[in-house]
Symmetry: C2
Subunit: 159 residues, 2 copies
C-alpha cells in the first residue's frame, strides 16, 4: 500500500483533515494525496509557495523570519505548517521547504537540504533531511518522507 493510501486509512476513520504547504516538492505531495479517491474528505488544500511573497501572502510567514533564517530553515518549515493549518482550519498542517537543485545550494545548505514540518494540536515537529540525487529524486524522497512523518506521528512511529 502506498504512503498516500495509508494516509487515507489513518485520517478518514478518525475524521481528521490535513492541509499542505510545499516549496521544493512543488505540488507533488498534494498531487499524491489526491491520487486517492475520496481524498476530498480529509484533504482541504495545498499551497505551493515557491516565492517568498507567496509564503507571506498565503501562509503568513513573516518576511523578517524569511530574511533572517532563510526560506529553507527549521523556522520557515514550522511557519509554513502553522500558516497552512491556520488558513484552512485543518487538524494537521504539513510543510516542506528545501533545495531540489541543481542550482541554489550553498556550503551551509547544499542541494538536497530539506526541512519537513508538521503541526497538530500544540505539537510542532521539524525533521531535517540531506537527500542525494537529482531534482526529480529529491522531490520524490521529500514527498515520501513528508507522508512518512504524518504516518509516524499518527501511528506512533516517532523515535
Amino acid at each position: 500500500m502506498s504512503p498516500e493510501e495509508r494516509l487515507a486509512g489513518v485520517l478518514a476513520p478518525r475524521g481528521l483533515t490535513i492541509a499542505v504547504a510545499e516549496s521544493c516538492t512543488g505540488g507533488l505531495i498534494s498531487s499524491r494525496i489526491t491520487d486517492v479517491a475520496g481524498a476530498s474528505a480529509y484533504f482541504l488544500a495545498g499551497i505551493v509557495a515557491y516565492s517568498n511573497e507567496a509564503k507571506e501572502e498565503f501562509l503568513s510567514v513573516p518576511r523578517d523570519l524569511l530574511m533572517a533564517r532563510g526560506a529553507v530553515s527549521r523556522e520557515a518549515a514550522e511557519g509554513m505548517a502553522e500558516g497552512v493549518r491556520r488558513a484552512t482550519g485543518a487538524d494537521l498542517g504539513l510543510s516542506v521547504t528545501g533545495i531540489a537543485g541543481p542550482g541554489g545550494g550553498t556550503r551551509e545548505k547544499p542541494v538536497g537540504t530539506v526541512y519537513i514540518g508538521l503541526c497538530a494540536g500544540t505539537d510542532r515537529l521539524v525533521r531535517l533531511h540531506r537527500f542525494e540525487g537529482d531534482r526529480a529524486s529529491i522531490k520524490r524522497q521529500s514527498a515520501d518522507e513528508a507522508l512518512k512523518l504524518v504516518l509516524d506521528y499518527l501511528e506512533g512511529g516517532l523515535t
Copy 2:
C-alpha cells in the same frame, strides 16, 4: 520536449510569470511545472483548492458563485484563474476545476467534466473538456490540456 519544458521556453525569455489554481488535478500541474530546473524564475505559486472554503479563502471566489454555478463550472474556472493571478501578481493565471471521479459525477456533469481557465491581461479563456478514463488518467489529461492552453495562447495556436 515535454509541455512543461516548452512552457519554460515561452515564459522565461519574455520575463512572464504564472500562477496556478487547481482543483481536480490536485497539484499535478504545479508539480510538473516545477519539475523543470529554474522554474522559480517564472512560477510564483500554486493553490490546490480542494474545498469550497479554500476557493473562497485563497482565491476569493465568491461563495454565491460557487453555490449558484457549482465549483465545477465555467464561472468557477474563470474566478479561480483571476483569483490566483490577483493574489500573486502573476502575468498569467491558470485554473482547473473538474470531476476526476470515480464519485461526484451527475447526469449534467459526469465524471471527466473539466473546465480549464486562463487569464492574461484583459483576456479570459475557458475551455470545457469531457475526458474519459480513470481518476489518474483524467488528472493527467487535465494537466496536459491546461499546459497546452497556455502554450496555445502564447504561441498563437488558439483556434
